[in-house]
């Protein structure tokens, strides 16, 4: 039961990773690519982490996985914001 749930979560995570990466490669401009990337970051890694956490032997490791996910969540939001602001500043300057 737990194994099935874990597999399902990992597969869903992989889907978002691929969707995000293809988006990063195919979408036409920086801002839409930014959007694609944050999906891969938040959902792809989030679901993968959840799936992996179910398989971890002890609570400490599962807890570390949760911290990893939270860190990436905040980091991706922050850097998306920083990069978008940076790009906009440069546009308005030129």
């Amino acid at each position: 039961m737990i194994n099935a749930l874990s597999s399902l979560l990992i597969l869903a995570g992989l889907f978002f990773y691929i969707a995000g990466s293809i988006g990063l490669l195919r979408l036409p401009d920086l801002y839409s690519r930014l959007h694609a990337l944050t999906k891969a970051d938040n959902l792809g890694l989030g679901l993968l982490t959840a799936g992996m956490a179910l398989q971890m032997p002890n609570l400490m490791t599962a807890l570390k996985l949760v911290i990893i996910w939270l860190a990436i969540l905040v980091a991706s939001a922050t850097s998306a914001h920083l990069i978008a602001r940076h790009a906009r500043r440069r546009e308005s300057r030129s």
Binding site: I67, A71, V74, A75, A77, T78, H81, L82
Partner: protein, 323 residues
């Protein structure tokens, strides 16, 4: 993972590493080079993980993918500022274009020859069974070293002299940086969002550093990885425009910078005084002595790396020194 898929994994990983190195070096645009170099560091951490070197992967993740990127980007800001004023060397290059082409090709050929020679030597080395004398010596004496992580045992016990000298090298480097001039101006205060990130990231980094220091006795981790993680906390604070915190003030900073070498020497001479060899720990005490030295070394490494990022004596220090 079966061996075929592992082989495919290795191949893809190495292709990305070599192409990132190539692209980082081939670019004329320094900004592009630096970003590609940071990605190169990220992928290298994966390679070290794959080669069963988690201790090295930890250091690479903290330094290669984090600190040296921040360091190079800060240098890039200086670079941008001066490049406009100074006449670039490209004009010189054009006058002697013919000669440059010859030099370029001969250097390229020499480097290619070096790679082939090195590769040929390594193929021959791998043909013979590996010489495990050192690895066996480490494994046999591990019980007496005071720690159960072999890498920590080598660094802090069996080859403690080397680590002492390495800390001296770090100290020399930071003194050189201080001697070369004032610190960089620092960063403008961060916006709301990055400031919010700093507020929880810095404490988490400090906790992680403490965890890595403690875990280094029996699992991958130790003073270097912990010091680099702690330094990352200081760099984050600088990036968020907080100049007052992140590094201690003048005299304390100098003491902390020297703490690694100092603690090593203190322990070494104390052992000499009790009739043992310099840094020849008694097995019963080895674990505690190593932790003591590692704590001092962690603080010294962190202070060194943050000072290196700052690029000189921090402002508060120069004010204090007016005597």
């Amino acid at each position: 993972m079966n061996s075929t898929s592992l082989l495919v994994f290795d191949g893809l990983l190495l292709v990305s590493i070599v192409s990132l190195a190539w692209a980082a070096l081939a670019s004329i645009d320094a900004r592009r080079s630096v970003i590609l170099f940071m990605a190169f560091g990220l992928v290298l951490a994966l390679a070290w993980a794959r080669l069963r070197a988690p201790d090295v992967a930890l250091a690479e993740a903290a330094i290669g993918a984090g600190l040296s990127g921040a360091l190079l980007l800060a240098a890039l800001h200086d670079h941008d500022r001066t490049a406009a004023g100074v006449g670039s060397s490209s004009t010189q290059n054009q006058t002697s274009a013919g000669l440059t082409t010859v030099i370029r090709w001969s250097v390229t050929l020499l480097c290619a020859a070096l790679a082939v020679g090195l590769g040929w030597a390594l193929v021959h080395v791998f043909d013979h069974p590996a010489n495990d004398a050192l690895a066996r010596a480490v494994a046999e004496n591990l019980d007496l070293s005071g720690v159960s992580n072999p890498v920590t045992a080598v660094l802090l016990n069996f080859r403690a002299y080397d680590t002492l000298l390495e800390l001296a090298v770090l100290l020399t480097a930071v003194l050189g940086i201080f001697a070369l001039g004032p610190a960089r101006a620092g960063y403008q205060p961060a916006g709301l969002i990055f400031d919010g990130l700093t507020r929880w990231l810095v404490p988490v980094l400090i906790l992680t550093a403490a965890y890595l220091l403690w875990v280094g006795a029996h699992a991958p981790g130790g003073a270097f990885q912990a010091g680099a993680t702690l330094a990352a906390a200081g760099v984050v604070l600088r990036l968020a425009g907080r100049h007052q915190i992140g590094l201690p003030a003048a005299r304390t900073l100098h003491i902390v910078l020297a703490a690694g070498v100092g603690m090593f020497l203190l322990v070494g001479f104390a052992l000499l005084a009790t009739g043992r060899a310099f840094l020849g720990y008694p097995p019963a005490w080895a674990g505690s002595l190593i932790l003591l030295i590692e704590t001092a070394a962690m603080l010294a490494i962190a202070a060194t790396l943050v000072s290196a990022f700052v690029g000189g004596q921090p402002e508060s220090v120069t004010i204090d020194n007016e005597e």
